[in-house]
Structure formats: C-alpha cells, structure tokens
Amino acid sequence: MFTDDAGKGGIAAGGPGNSAESNRRTGGDLVQLITPGGERVSHPEFDPWVRDVNDEQLGALYEDMVVIRRIDAEATALQRQGELALWPPLLGQEASQIGSARALRDDDFVFPSYRDNGVAYCRGVRPEAIVKAWRGNALAGWDPFTVNVATQQIIIGAQTLHATGYAMGIQNDGADSVAVAYFGDGATSEGDVNEALVFAASFQAPVVFICQNNHWAISEPVRLQSHIQIADRAAGFGIPSMRVDGNDVLAVMAATRIATNRARHGGGPTFIEAVTYRMGPHTTADDPTRYRDANELEDWAAKDPIARLKSLLERKGLLTEALETAVAAKADAVAKALRAGTINMPEPQPLDIFKHVYSTPHAPLERQQDHYSRYLASFGDPAEAASEEGAR
C-alpha cells in the first residue's frame, strides 16, 4: 500500500532532466536556451519563437527579474517587521514568471495562484496592491478587469477550472485571446486540475496551463504528487505538453509563445511544465529545514535564473554600467514605493465587513449591519470601541 519507495524516481534534486533518475522517465527533454553558465544554446524548434528578442529586450527581462526579486525581498522584510501578516516568496521562480508573463498579450487573461506575484507585476498590478491581501486589508488587492488578472487563488488548483471556463467564453465569442492558468506541481494532484484538463481538451479551449514545478508543495516533494514527469500527465488528457527549464527566461518565453499561438489559432490547450525551484520557504510561516536538505538548495543556487541571464548579458557585452545602474535604480524605486504604499495604506473600517456581500440589498444582512453599528455606537466613540474589540 503505502510503500516507502512509492515516490522513487521523482525529479531528482540534481537538476532538471540531467540526472540518471529523470532520464529513465518518459517524456520530452527539458528545453533549455540558456545554460546555467549563461551560454546561449540553440534549439531548432524553440529558437524561432524568441528570435525577435533583441539586446534591449534581454536587458528589460533582466530588469524585470531583478525588480521582482527585490519586491519579494522587500515584502519578506515587511512581513518580518510585522507590516504583512504573511508572504509567499517566489525566490528562484523569477524566470518562470517573467518569461511566461512577458509572452502574453494585454487582452489575454491570467488566473494566478498566491505565489505568482511576478506575473501580477508584469501585468501592471502595483506592488502595494500585491501585498494588500497579505497585509489583511482586503481579500483582493486589485480589480481583475483593469489588468486582466484574476485574484490570486489560495484554494489549490481551483483557478485552472476558471481559466478553462474563461477560455470557453473566448471561444464562444470568436476572439483570439488566451486564458492562462498558473499553478504548482502539488496542484496537479487536485481533482479540480484534472477536471480542468478534461474540459480544456473536450472543448479544445484556448487555455494555457503553466505549472511551475518548484519541487515542493509545502513539505511534500514533487515525487509524492506524480510518479511520472508532470508534463507527461497532459498526454493522458489529450493535451500537448512541453517541459522547459523554468530558470531559463528565454525557454519559458518561447514555450509560452508556442502555446498561446496554438491557442489563438484554434489549436486548443497546451500544458507547460516549467522546472524550477522554490529557494525560500513556502511562506514566511514555514520552516523548510524540517523537510529539505541544504545541499539541494545549494545545487539549485548554481542554476539561479537571474545569475544565468546576467552571465548571458555579460558574454554578449551587454552588461554595461548604464544597464546595471538603471536596473538598480528601478529596483530601489519600486521597493521604496512598495514600502511607503504598504505603511501608508488606509486602515479598513469596521462596517466594511458588510460591504459587497451581495450586489443588491439583502434585508437580513442590513439588519445585522444596523445592529452592529448600534453596538459600536453604544461605546460612545465607535473608533475607540473598535480598537478595544478583539478576538479575546
């Protein structure tokens, strides 16, 4: 039954696709366009999809990655200082998020999970809006329709169905935009994700599934979720898949462009497994030393997505002082704005809890609100009463 070796043969910590372990698996090779050493390697199928990425755009991708790492670090610091209740770091997943998100069109619609803060940033969500829910000031920090990004999903995998349904809507409308679902390797175990794959395939919906395989679902290694490579699961649903080096921004971008292009032209869904690594804790409340080997982290640090692009820029003579200064200035400015925006965020008011439960009046709820406001008023100064209230 629960054999101890049930999970043997998962993607070994030695690295994506290059261990004896994973060579035994079925499925496509891990696509890589930039080696961990920063060398640009050619790939006949994928190269054409990033041929247009010029020097300047490479620099821009670098800037994006540095900036979101900085947002992530600043948010982690804000959490440590008690300004955020919790934060789920994306450290290590910058290339997966930037490479995919920068491959999308404005009219595409993204359904992300809680960790996809870099995706939100690329779509134009302001950093302080990203942290608003983690501060506890709202359930969602932005209006999905202003940036074409749904609120970040916490229920594992639920958003894959939403993306599929949205894609069915696109299809009905005869539009050529695409819905994109982001989720983790653990999520692929959930019923919802499997049902999303069924629907997407049945209706050939224009949806792209982007699984960031960061190797861990809190304390559970990917081998506990899947006995075969994650990307190979898609075949069973009749969905083509790609397995790309998730720490390689160009490979992720190329794969996403292939997938969105297919979807736009009636080719249906695609599943992308971006093989990456969560270098930090699951959230700021987690202690990875309880379940994770320090050597594993070291191995992956050598494949750092930002260092890799930086070496490529260096090799190409593009890592100028001007670029470095500009990138650092941008990161500083964004971090500063994030901090100020967080600390100065207006506090929610007691009666806000009754807002937006329904779109039209609801008499019993209005009565509850009325009673609660009378209760607060019975203390004299409602603000004072509110601060005395508490989960005692």
Partner: protein, 336 residues
C-alpha cells in the same frame, strides 16, 4: 497530570491511539516530516513509520475517498484537513459517502473515520484559513460532530473519536493551539465524560451561555466579567455539536430561564438556530425571554484587519446577555 498545550495534547492522544490499535492510520498533507502545519502530528511519522502516518498527495477528495476504502478494509483512518477552508473539495466524499455508508449497507459497513479540522479565526490568516464550516456537517445525518475547548478534552476526545465506529468530525480551535492546560494522560476512556455529552463549565443561575471550541474561553471570561456586575452566568461547553446533549441543555435552561448561544460561524442556518429552536420547543414554558444568538455575521470571513468585528467578543457576548436579561443593551428601544 501534565501541563500541555492544546496541540501537544492532541498529539499525545493520537500517539496513544496509534500505539493501542494497529489499524489506526493518520493521513493528510504535510503531516509527516513537517509534523503538520500546526505541528499537531509532530514526531509521529518518525516513531510509527510512513505506513501509519501518511503524507498524502495534495488532494482532499482523494484523501477522504481513500479513507473510505481503508475503512472498508478494516482500518480506522484519522484524516487531517489542513485548514477549515480546504474541507470543501472533500465535501462530496464526506456527505455522500462517509456519512451514508452505514445506512446504505444497513450496518454492514462501518466508517470509523476521524476527520480533524483546525477551524475558526482570530489568527490573522489569509482567505480560506479561518472558517467555521461545522453547520454543513451537523446538517448531515450519519456524522458525529465534536469540537474541543481545552487540552484535557482534546486529549481524551480525539481518542474517543478514533475509537468510535461512527465517522466523527473533530473540530480543533486553531487559535487555542498554544493555550496550556492540565492533562491527565492516564484518564480511562470509559470513565471519561462521553463524547456525546456537554459539560457545565461554570455554574450560574441567571443565564445559560452556550459555546463550543474557541469561544468557550471567551464565554468563561464573559461569565467572570458579568459576575462583577452581579450577574450569574452558567457556561456550557457543548463539546458534541451532533448529536446535541439536550438533557444537559434543558436542565440548565429550566434553571436559568434564559439562553444565549455564541459561535464564530455565520448566524443564518448556524448551530445557534438549531439550539434556539429546539430549546424553545422543549422548554417554552421555562423561558423568560427569547433565546439570543451572538455569532459571526452573514458575511464571508473577512480580511484579518477587521476579523475581530466578525468574531464574537467578550463585550458582544455580554451585550447578548443583557438582551436576554432585558437589561439596557445596544438594541434597547428597537423592536424585534
């Protein structure tokens, strides 16, 4: 007697059940090496092995459905649902399968499954981490539903739940996990208060105040505060939410003539509604006033900066007590 935190008390109870019955199997997300996100299963996998303390794939319906199969096979699965808000993917298996199997098979198949659910708010969590879904389950026949309020009960009742041949939902008040209390680990399960019984926590004569889980502490504090004003509150910890121990409830209400019930869950269709209606039916001529509910509002669990407004507080409970007693209160002068 040992001083223990709530979480530790459950851990010790789980350990005893694992030791005493080889058919007991723990299942859930992150319960192994990590010891669960609240560390309630800390060390158990190390001591009992991966066959008895099973880290499952991330799939609640999968966990619950395979627990059904294990129960068919004679095992006694103890399932951990990581947080209240993640029980819904398992809802179908719980209400359609776990709850009905005994009835469907005319008693041939037993479902001795214990479902541990850390529930309730007050810990500043994000969405889906602070819910009180108990009423969905008290509404489903075939399930037993309990909620613990102190380390001793936590310790005993987890063992009783596991020993029960019926499926038991065991709601753990997560904001009390670190509260300490005396635990007698040698307490004989047979001699302990039955899993179905409520407990009078504080005796009183003016008002009966019913609470369970996280709010028992708040209710006790409210009783203390009321005593300063000369009001004598009888606090009852329901312990069992399904079935309800009406014998204990009725005896108290007959004595006090007044009833207040408090829970974190939203009001409409909540357990308070059931208690108020049933007690009104059973004790109508003993009631001096209509039963009062002090509950969470009929809103989705709000973001953490304002969650304290949703959660019944000591003062809000006392305001409810004032209403039951006809003393000046925040709704004085209002009709209905």
């Amino acid at each position: 007697m040992t001083q223990m935190t709530f979480a530790r008390a459950i851990n010790a109870g789980l350990r005893k059940s694992l030791e005493n019955d080889p058919k007991v199997i723990l299942m859930g997300e992150d319960i192994g090496a990590l010891g669960g996100v609240f560390r309630v299963t800390d060390g158990l996998q190390k001591d009992f092995g991966k066959h008895r303390v099973v880290d499952t794939p991330l799939a609640e319906s999968g966990i619950m459905g395979t627990a059904v199969g294990l129960a068919y096979r004679g095992y006694r699965p103890v399932v951990e649902i990581q947080f209240d808000g993640f029980i819904y993917p398992a809802f179908d298996q719980i209400v359609s399968q776990v709850a009905k199997m005994h009835y469907r098979t005319q008693g041939a198949v037993k479902m001795p499954i214990t479902i541990r659910v850390p529930f309730g708010g007050g810990i500043g969590s994000p969405e889906h981490h602070s819910e009180s879904p108990e009423a969905y389950f008290t509404h489903t026949s075939g399930l037993r539903v309990v909620s613990v309020s102190n380390p001793q009960d936590a310790h005993t009742m987890i063992q009783q739940a596991i020993a029960s041949d019926d499926p038991v939902l065991y709601f753990e008040p997560k904001r009390r996990y670190h509260d300490k209390g005396e635990v007698d680990e040698s307490l004989d399960l047979g001699a302990a208060l039955s899993l179905e019984r409520a407990r009078v926590v504080t005796e009183g004569k003016d008002v009966t105040l019913l609470a369970y889980g996280p709010l028992v502490k708040t209710a006790k504090d409210a009783a203390l505060a009321a005593a300063d004003e000369g009001i004598s509150i009888e606090v009852i910890d329901l312990r069992s939410l399904a079935p309800l121990d009406f014998a204990t409830l009725e005896a108290s209400v007959r004595k006090t003539g007044r009833l207040v019930i408090t829970h974190e869950a939203s009001q409409t269709g909540g357990l308070g509604a059931e208690v108020a209606a049933s007690i009104t039916e059973r004790c109508f001529y003993h009631l001096e006033a209509a039963p009062v509910r002090v509950t969470g509002f009929d809103v989705p669990y709000p973001y953490s900066k304002v969650e304290m407004h949703h959660l019944p507080s000591l003062d809000r409970i006392l305001d409810g007590v004032d209403r039951a007693l006809g003393r000046p209160n925040s709704l004085s002068g209002l009709e209905g």
